[in-house]
């Protein structure tokens, strides 16, 4: 019988939630790495027992962890992230140029076919790759050097590369997103990059439709249609049908189009999910109602999903990496909150139930579908 394994990164450790295919009874293990911030952990599609985790601390810096038994045991691997060559500068909060300085790993993206290859998105924004299971890391410097790098500047949460999307049909193509620089694409395996922000409009920057400077929060793709991307931007939900060459807004009837995560149904490439948040200054759901919104039309028309979710007095947030879908049928959808709840839906969002209620603030949620 199929199983699922949900990997939860929190402010104070990692948790592994497991269930069989019914997804109604859960076992919880953790905290792993108690007391540390676990920004993200993710399993290899090529070997689900191989999981990478980003373990960070304001005191002790960055540690990288790897499991080869599905999260039961862990081994610390390489944690040296050194920018390639001359470090260079980017724009700082006060408008001056500021040297790139490594702070932490925000996102890990294991390669689709090789469990020893994994990409890391870091703050200050850069993309690193390991080809030896995390023992050593090398920057793909073409991203920072493609020309616009010195004009990038951090958002309030830091200048982080938080999204890495690999094209399953074209191993040379990948997409990344940076707050607050925007989205970028490579078509040559990471050697050269181009901004892909045409069609984005952001009121918080001097030139609303600038080439870079947009605060992209998250990008999602369905593997069957790698040229179609969905984006939750600081404000606005967007889609592209041409691999990012141009974007169109699909916020439609959402109560607010501010939010952080976005994801795509495992079997329906036009079914997408977002969690609307009141505004950039009010990071909680509108009206105290925690609602996932689902569009079955690839955006534009949205329906609230509320069954099993708190519909009063709820003031949590759902962060950009804290939503995931499994590949079972029906598709399961999961998200974690800053209040420490992890909610799961075994039926594509029709109904929800908390898997756990009282974890530390959830930073990331990933799910593995296991045979």
């Amino acid at each position: 019988m199929s199983r699922v394994r949900v990997l939860v990164g929190t402010r104070k450790g990692a948790f592994v939630l497991t269930a069989d295919g019914k997804r109604d009874r859960w076992q919880v293990s953790g905290p792993h790495f108690p007391g540390w911030e676990i920004y993200h952990l993710k399993g290899s599609p090529a070997n689900p027992n191989r999981i990478y985790a980003s373990q960070t601390s304001g005191w002790f810096g960055q540690v990288m962890q790897r499991s080869d038994d599905g999260g039961a045991t862990w081994e610390a691997v390489g944690n040296k992230f050194e920018y390639d060559g001359v470090t260079g500068t980017h724009q700082w909060y006060d408008g001056t140029q500021h040297p790139w300085a490594f702070a932490r790993v925000w996102h890990l993206e294991p390669a689709l076919t090789d469990p020893d290859t994994v990409y890391a998105g870091v703050e200050d924004a850069a993309l690193f790759r390991s080809s030896d299971g995390g023992a050593t890391w090398q920057e793909l410097p073409g991203l920072r050097r493609h020309g616009t790098g010195p004009s990038w500047q951090p958002g309030a949460g830091g200048m982080c590369l938080h999204t890495i999307v690999l094209d399953p049909a074209n191993p040379k193509r990948m997409y990344i997103a940076i707050s607050a620089a925007g989205a970028f694409r490579t078509d040559d395996g990471g050697t050269t990059w181009q901004p892909i922000n045409r069609g984005l409009r952001s009121q918080g920057i001097p030139d609303a439709d600038a080439e870079v400077g947009h605060c992209v929060h998250r990008i999602a793709m369905h593997p069957s249609r790698p040229g179609v991307l969905f984006m939750q931007k600081h404000w606005d939900v967007m889609r592209t049908d041409n691999a990012g060459d141009s974007w169109q807004e699909v916020s439609g009837n959402l109560p607010t189009d501010f939010g952080f995560p976005i994801d795509v149904h495992a079997h329906e490439p036009e079914t997408i999910y977002v969690v609307p948040i009141t505004s950039d200054s009010h990071h909680f759901p509108p009206e105290g109602k925690l609602r996932v919104f689902r569009s079955r039309t690839g955006g534009g028309e949205w329906e609230p999903l509320t069954k099993g979710l708190p519909q009063r007095d709820c003031y949590v947030n759902v962060l950009r990496d804290a939503m995931a879908v499994d590949s079972l049928d029906p598709c399961g959808v999961y998200f974690g909150t800053t209040g420490g709840q992890v909610y799961g839906s075994p039926n594509g969002g029709d109904s929800w139930a908390p898997i756990v209620r009282d974890l530390p603030a959830v930073l990331s949620v990933e799910v593995q579908s296991l045979a």
Binding site: F60, V63, K80, F81, E82, F102
Partner: protein
């Protein structure tokens, strides 16, 4: 041997107890002790000093013999009691309130 006491999270990471003992060649300084510590426990590399700059992480402190040695030069000699192994060299996480 130099005795080094680590904060809880680094003990867990290095899978050691309250103290570890490291051997150094030459004069006992903060730099030589941390070099020996990182050589014996590579998992600690980057957690006390930045990997690239080799600078102390801002929220870590170094104490010994009831003195705060945090702002001493890295190559300054450590107290004789530390060099003799009579007193530990303390790596301490700065206190956080809230």
């Amino acid at each position: 041997m130099i005795r080094v006491a680590l904060p809880t999270h680094l003990r867990t990471l290095a899978r050691v107890g309250d103290e570890v003992a490291v051997a150094i060649e030459g004069r006992a300084t903060r730099a030589s002790v941390l070099d020996a510590l990182e050589a014996a426990y590579p998992v600690l590399r980057g957690t006390i000093r930045d990997h690239v700059t080799r600078e102390r992480r801002p929220f870590l402190r170094f104490f010994a013999c009831e003195q705060d040695l945090t702002h001493e030069p890295p190559d300054a000699p450590l107290p004789d009691a530390v060099a003799r192994g009579a007193e530990p060299f303390l790596v301490v996480g700065a206190m956080a309130g809230g």
